[in-house]
């Protein structure tokens, strides 16, 4: 730590930072625009001007930009210096000359960094009396509103979009005071991380278009800390509610997971919560053959009690998108031997294998931050942009790690963004990418190789053997360009300090998982402790794998044998999990199906009783993310008479009583869970329990300036109702609560006096871009014994016999889409707009052989089922492969990869 003097007082500062960062960390209110903790400094906006003095005798000083001066030992500066103050006020005044008179109709108003800085510098009245320059805005797609008039030319948008997120289609145009930030023409922003522009832009140029549809100011939202449900990474979010409507999702800083950024699926997928298909009331079929009807509480209780009279004949099917607590509650209700995991058989197998690998620990399990800090990466098979989008953004940072060493050698601090980028130019660290088809990170790959899943596994095994001769030998013919790939990758990974292997279950290949684990194992054996990041499909995939349970096919078999009278299906559309004919047969053979879910779907249509479950926004629970981190999400929509946590419904079913359920609150479920699974003991520490108080007070969901309390519901009844109780969490549905900063797991609002924008996150950290004060939330459940402890055996990689292009049929491989493949987010209107039309992709050579043209229809027969899809030619796809989109609505549950017979449809 260095000692710096701010206004003649000594302070301790990290010499690796700059003065702006140090001042902010010390709690000073120093305005800035172009600096961003994740983007570094460029010194463009001139807003953070301070006066620097040579030594204690220097009374004159000089004005410098705080963000461009390192916080070296003995640095003397003055923030309060009148000249510096005047300078900053003048800068804002100039920036404001063309700023429109829009604040009342601007979505950023009230959480605008420009407003905050304008107030902070004291610029209160516009003196500029002349014409303002104007711009036309662009239509940037369903997520982002654009209003260029408001721009203050800080360049943060292009620095994030191009430099950080690797986007291509947003840039700065024109010159002098006409500089324009946008696309070259109207159109959808291509980057999957465009939503972060909303938080990166210091003013209202880029705003959230989904929020605009139900616009509410920041101060009017009731917020709760939440966890993204749309993939397995478990990004931390803040969900904002008003008037019973979920209004938006914001990033919730987590040092190790999502940092400052989210993907667009996570940010804009929330609108499924208010989809028309939401189940809002319980309904039941009272006699066979009848329609289901809404049913009163008492009748429902009787009906359910009747269905559960014979506990030996009741089974439960869990769900990887339901919370750990909900799955556990179902497992407790039906008994462990009659509880089945909700994922497809193949996925269950893969998850079990992945869990086995993670427990054995061939490498560290990296967090997203660890991923971003890795200096050599091997991606094996996973199309991360589409299956775990935020991971792709982390990988984009990982490839900067090696070139950054060059900057270190030249004594250029890493925060000095412009200088570093000028030095590094286009140099990138090693990232080796094996995939079945072109991916969105091909542009950062040192080398990529496209092959079938089995061949990728073979490639992995060969690479492992190249790194460590003890690795098992793999027979079979490698693709032609594999040799160079293996050589280069082995060299790069062995040269790296923190090598990383990324794989996942999305290609449905256990061999691939084992191969990736073997690469990590080989690296560890070679003295390069590697990290192994495995990607899973759903928010709680790993959680359900930890709980265990039978396979769906076993459930189907039990039903076919007539051993099942009642099946309780938890938050799961099993038509997405197994072949429709098997599901049809299952649903027919079970006399009573009880579905507990948030959204009506085909499974629910067949059910005798449907109970409304709550979404992530209406419930409290825990998800276990891809690295085994248990993270708690909290209710933000006030509870409803009917829509409730699944575990609460199940707790009532267990005892048959609403007043005395099996578990009175979430803490009781977690206590029971831990008693049964000691491995999950960390779940309790993921967040403070319901009895947590600060100074006797709960944490308020509503902001301190929450408005309309006595008028919001006055049209219904002029007497204000009592705010809803929340027995499960230390958060209250009220403005009343502890006014200070809560523990990190309960932070539901980034706000600090004078800092109304999301930039106030600086005030929640001890050091800038460090963990939230008090430690980041979440508890990792799976810590391998030690990173470099002798790392078990190699994993046998069961590579199938399939060869690329062999035989007449093609190998259908799954194609995931960031927008559409995930069940819930696909129902959000904005995401649905970005969803691609389903199509089968194949190599042009394969298409010529059929023959079929681009756009022509083909009949694809997989496992005895016909699909008719238009063809898209994809030269990047190896011959013999047919990529079929998965998870898109109206595409039945396919078990891929599988052989597919393809015929042209005339």
């Amino acid at each position: 730590m260095a000692t710096i003097y701010i206004d003649q007082r000594p302070y301790a500062a990290d010499p690796r930072t700059n003065l702006l960062q140090a001042s902010l960390a010390l709690g000073f209110d120093l305005p800035y625009f172009c600096w961003h903790p994740a983007l570094g400094s460029v010194g463009a906006c001139r807003q953070c001007a301070v006066k620097q003095f040579r030594d204690e005798k220097d009374k004159h000083g000089k004005i410098v930009m705080a963000c461009m001066v390192p916080a070296l030992e003995g640095t003397r500066l003055s923030i309060d210096d009148p000249e510096a103050r005047e300078f900053r006020a003048a800068v804002v005044e100039w920036l404001m000359t063309n700023h429109p008179h829009d604040c009342p109709v601007c979505d950023e108003g009230g959480e605008c960094h420009l407003q905050d800085v304008t107030v902070m510098t004291g610029h209160a009245y516009r003196r500029y009396r002349f014409e303002k320059r104007t711009f036309r805005y662009q239509d940037l797609g369903p997520f982002i509103s654009h209003e260029m008039n408001r721009c203050i030319q800080c360049y943060r948008c292009v620095r994030f979009y191009r430099d950080y997120a690797g986007g291509r289609d947003l840039d700065a145009f024109a010159a002098h005071n006409h500089v324009y930030f946008g696309r070259h023409e109207d159109g959808v922003l291509e980057s999957e991380f465009s939503g972060n522009l909303v938080e990166v832009c210091p003013t209202g140029v880029f705003t959230d278009k989904t929020l605009k549809r139900h616009f509410t100011r920041k101060w009017d939202l009731q917020s709760a800390p939440s966890i993204c449900t749309h993939c397995a990474l478990g990004c931390n979010t803040i969900a904002g509610e008003r008037g019973g409507v979920l209004r938006r999702i914001l990033n919730r800083y987590h040092h190790d997971v999502n940092g400052y950024f989210l993907c667009d699926r996570g940010r804009f997928g929330y609108e499924f919560v208010h989809h028309l298909r939401r189940i809002r009331r319980a309904s039941a079929r009272l006699a066979p053959g009848e329609e289901r009807r809404e049913i009163a509480r008492t009748a429902l209780r009787g009906r359910l009690a009747a269905l559960l009279t014979n506990p030996e004949r009741v089974i439960g099917i869990g769900s990887p998108r339901a919370s750990l607590e909900a799955n556990f509650a179902l497992r407790t209700l039906v008994g462990a031997e009659r509880f089945f995991q909700g994922a497809s058989d193949r996925e269950c197998g893969l998850l079990a294998e992945a869990l086995r690998i993670m427990r054995a620990g061939p490498g560290r399990i990296p967090s997203l931050r660890d991923v971003a800090e890795s200096d050599a990466v091997l991606v094996l098979g996973e199309d991360v942009t589409n299956t775990a989008p935020r991971l792709a953004l982390a990988l984009r940072q990982a490839v900067r790690q090696q070139p950054l060493l060059q900057a270190d050698r030249m004594n250029i601090p890493r925060w000095h963004d412009r200088a570093v980028r000028d030095l590094l130019q286009d140099r990138r660290g090693p990232l080796f990418l094996g995939a079945v088809a072109p991916t969105r990170i091909d542009d950062i790959a040192t080398r990529f190789l496209r092959a079938s899943p089995e061949n990728l596994a073979r490639l992995g095994c060969a690479l492992a053997r190249r790194i460590d001769g003890h690795a098992p030998e793999e027979s079979g013919v490698l693709p032609t360009d594999a040799a160079a790939f293996i050589e280069e990758a082995a060299a790069a990974l062995l040269a790296a300090k923190r090598p990383l292997v990324v794989a996942g279950v999305s290609l449905g290949s256990a061999a691939l998982l084992a191969a990736a684990a073997n690469v990590a194992r080989a690296l560890s054996a070679a003295g390069r402790p590697a990290a192994l990041s495995l990607v899973f499909p759903e928010a709680n995939s790993l959680g359900t794998a930890l709980l265990g349970g039978g396979r769906l096919s076993e459930a189907f078999a039990a039903a076919a044998a007539g051993r099942v009278e009642t099946a309780i299906i938890l938050e799961n559309d099993i038509y997405r999990r197994a072949a429709p004919r098997d599901v049809d047969a299952f649903l027919r053979s079970v006399p009573h199906v009880v579905v507990l879910d948030t959204l009506a779907h085909r499974t629910a249509d067949a059910a005798a009783v449907v109970l409304p479950a709550g979404t992530f926004a209406e419930t409290n629970g825990t998800f276990v993310n891809h690295e085994g981190r248990a993270q708690r999400f909290f209710q933000v929509l006030p509870p409803d008479e009917w829509v409730r946590e699944s575990w609460r419904w199940l707790g009532e079913l267990a005892t048959g009583s609403q007043t005395a359920p099996a578990w009175p609150n979430l803490d009781a479920v977690i206590a029971a869970l831990i008693a049964e699974f000691p491995e999950l003991a960390g779940v309790r520490r993921a967040a403070p329990g319901a009895d947590f108080r600060v100074g006797g007070q709960k944490i308020a969901r509503a902001s301190r300036r929450f408005s309309g309390r006595t008028a919001q519901h006055a049209n219904l009844d002029v007497s204000e109702p009592k705010p809803p109780d929340d027995p499960d969490s230390p958060l209250s549905y009220s403005m009343e609560g502890y006014p200070g900063q809560p523990p990190a797991a309960l932070v539901n609002l980034f706000w600090s006096p004078g800092w109304n924008s999301v930039q106030s996150v600086n005030k929640f950290q001890n050091e800038i871009a460090s963990p939230l004060a008090g430690g980041d939330p979440g508890v990792r459940l799976l810590e391998p014994a030690s990173a470099d402890a002798a790392v078990g055996d190699y994993f046998p990689s069961p590579i199938g016999a399939w060869e690329d292009g062999s035989g007449g049929a093609l190998l259908a491989v799954p194609r995931h889409h960031i927008f559409g493949s995930e069940e819930l987010s696909a129902l959000a209107p904005g995401v649905a707009e970005r969803m691609p039309a389903p199509c089968a992709e194949m190599n042009p050579d394969d298409a010529r052989a059929l023959p079929v043209q681009e756009g022509g229809l083909v009949r694809v027969t997989i496992d005895g089922r016909d699909l008719v899809l238009p063809v898209r030619l994809e030269a990047g796809l190896p011959r013999g492969l047919l990529s079929i989109p998965v998870g898109l609505p109206d595409l039945p549950g396919l078990d891929l990869p599988a052989a597919a017979a393809v015929k042209g449809v005339p």
Partner: protein
Amino acid sequence: MLSILKSVWLVFLHLFRRKITIQYPEEKAYLAPRYRGRIVLTRDPDGGERCVACYLCAVACPVDCIALGATEDEHGRRYPEFFRINFSRCINCGFCEEACPTYAIQLIPDVEMAEYQRQNMVYEKKDLLIDGEGKYHGYNFYRVAGLAIGGKDKGEAEKESPPVDPKSLLP
């Protein structure tokens, strides 16, 4: 002692003074134009709703008796979908009027709003919106703001130059 007697005497003489009481329902007191009474929503000189649903009145309200919801017309002009004031809570402080950036919300010298049912004190937008400009004439927020709305394109507001062509490098 004498002063006490004197003040008693002076007070006693007030018995015969003219009384200042105004016999309210029959006689009406003079209320200045800026008297803070009933709240109305006004229209701009072109007859459009002045309120742009910015929520500033709601947040300024110390008793939180204003609730509204923003929406937009097809041209991007923002207006309140609903606007509700619970006058049974209102303390006529006038903060909402001070906070209003568009002169939409105004307090007028009308204090006669007693009701037998408290529910009737809840005023919706249809009860609040008047057809005139109220106390402040001639102001139209959208003529000053940079936002384009129906009938006013970019660069057509007061003191705005026409939109820039970002593909031109000319000065």
